[in-house]
Amino acid sequence: MTDIKINLLVKVWRQPSTNSVGSFVDYKVSVSPDSSFLEMLDEINNDLEMKNLEPIAFESDCREGICGTCGLVINGQPHGPIPKIATCQLHMRNFKDGDTVWVEPFRAKAFQVMKDLIVERSGLDKIIAAGGYISVNTGSIPDANAMPISKDVSSLAMDAAACIGCGACVAACKNASAMLFVSAKVSQLALLPQGQPERTRRVQNMVKVMDELGFGSCSNTYACEAECPKGISVKNIARLNREFILAHMKSDNIEA
C-alpha cells in the first residue's frame, strides 16, 4: 500500500505465431512494488490495448502458485530470481528502480512457442497418459484404511506429488530435460503400495514417451531442483534412474 513506484525497462519476447520470427520489444513501466510481476504485465497490456496495440500474450490462471499455468523466464531464470515460487508469486519489490528485466518464454524443442510468451506443454500430459496413474476403475476399491501406509512414506510421496507440472524444470535444464517432472510422478507412485502392480511398466512407458517427445537427458546439474517452484528434490531423479534400471533388468517385457 505504498505510493512509491519503481521504474523499469522490461524487454519482452514478442512472436506473433509459432512459425514467425520473434524479437524483444522494450516497455518502460512505472509500477507499485506491491504489484505482482504478472500484474505489471497486465498494466503494460492495458496500456497497449488503450493504444489499440496487441497485448502481450502470456498465460496464468490461479495466481497463487498452484495451477502451474504461468511460467516465464525472467532474467534467465524460470519463475524469476526468488526460489520456490511460481512467476505469479513474484512481486515487484524484488526489483530495483532502474533495473532492466528480460522476459522470455520457456524454451525447449518439446515446448513450442505458440505466441509471445505462451508455449505448448501438452507433452507433459502425454507422459502422464503413458503411465502416470494407478489403473483403478471408479468403484472397484477397498476401504481407504484397509492398507496402512507409513507416515514417512506417505510424506515422501506427497513431497513428490506436489509437482505443479509447470515445466520450469525443463526450462531451467541446459538439456531441456523433463526428468524432474517424470521422476516426481514415478516416485510418488513407486513409493505407495497402491502403485506396486504397475511399477515396472509405468517407468518404462513414461520414459519411453519422454524420450520420443524430444526432451533432453539429465546431466545432473540440478538446475531443475533450484528453479522448481515446489522444491521437488533431485533425489526423485535418482529414484527414477533406479526404477528404470531395475525395471529393465527384472522385467520380462522385451518390448519396452
Binding site: 541446459k174 546439474t221 535418482a238 534412474n241
Partner: protein
Amino acid sequence: MNWLFRSLNSSIGKKVIMAITGISLILFLLVHLANNLTLFAGPTTFNTVVKSLDSIKPFVRVIEVILALIFIFHIFNGVRLWYENKIARPTPYAVNGSSKNSSLLSRTMIQTGSIIFIFLVIHLSTFWSAFNFSDLHQTHTYYEFTADMFSNVYYAIFYIIAMITLGFHLNHGFQSAFQTFGWNNKKYFPLITTLGFLYSVLMAVAFSSIPIYFLLIGGN
C-alpha cells in the same frame, strides 16, 4: 538382445553408460596414479615397475583394449548426449541465468572432457607410444625419458592444466555417476559428494606433482 540395445539407447540408458564407463575410468586412474607415484621412489624403482609390466605384455594388451573400449564408449556417448541435448533446445535464451541455478563444473563436462581428450591424444602419442613402440628405451631409461619430457616448461604446464581440468571433470563426474545409478539418499549422498571432491583433488594434485617435481629438479 534388442531389448538391451533399446534400454541402453534410452536417455537414462545412455547416462548409465556414462556412469559405468566413468566409474571404470575413475578406478583406472587410481592404478595409473599408483604407477606414476613410483617416480618419486627414484629411477630404479620406476624402471623396474615399468619393466615388470613388460613381462606380462599380453595381459596388459588385453587390459589396454578394454580400457580403449571404455574410453571410446565414454567419449562417443558423451559427445552424442551433448549433441542430442543441444538439439533439445534449438533456441537459446537471450539471458543465460544458469550461473544462478547450477555449478559451472556441472555445466562444462563437454568442455573439460574435450580438453582431457586432447590431452589423452598427446599423452598417448608421447608417453604411451614411446614406452611401447619406439626404440627410445635403448638410449634412455623410462625414468630419464619422463624427466626429459617434463623439463620442458611448456609441456609440463600443459600437463598441469590438463590435470586440473581432469579434477574439475571428476568432481562433477564422481557424484553424478552415483546419482545416475540412483544411489542418492539423505544419509550417504553427502558422503559420496565429499569423497568425490577429495578424490578429484587428489587426482589433480598427485598427477600434477610429477611434472612440478621434474620441473623443480630440472630434469635430473
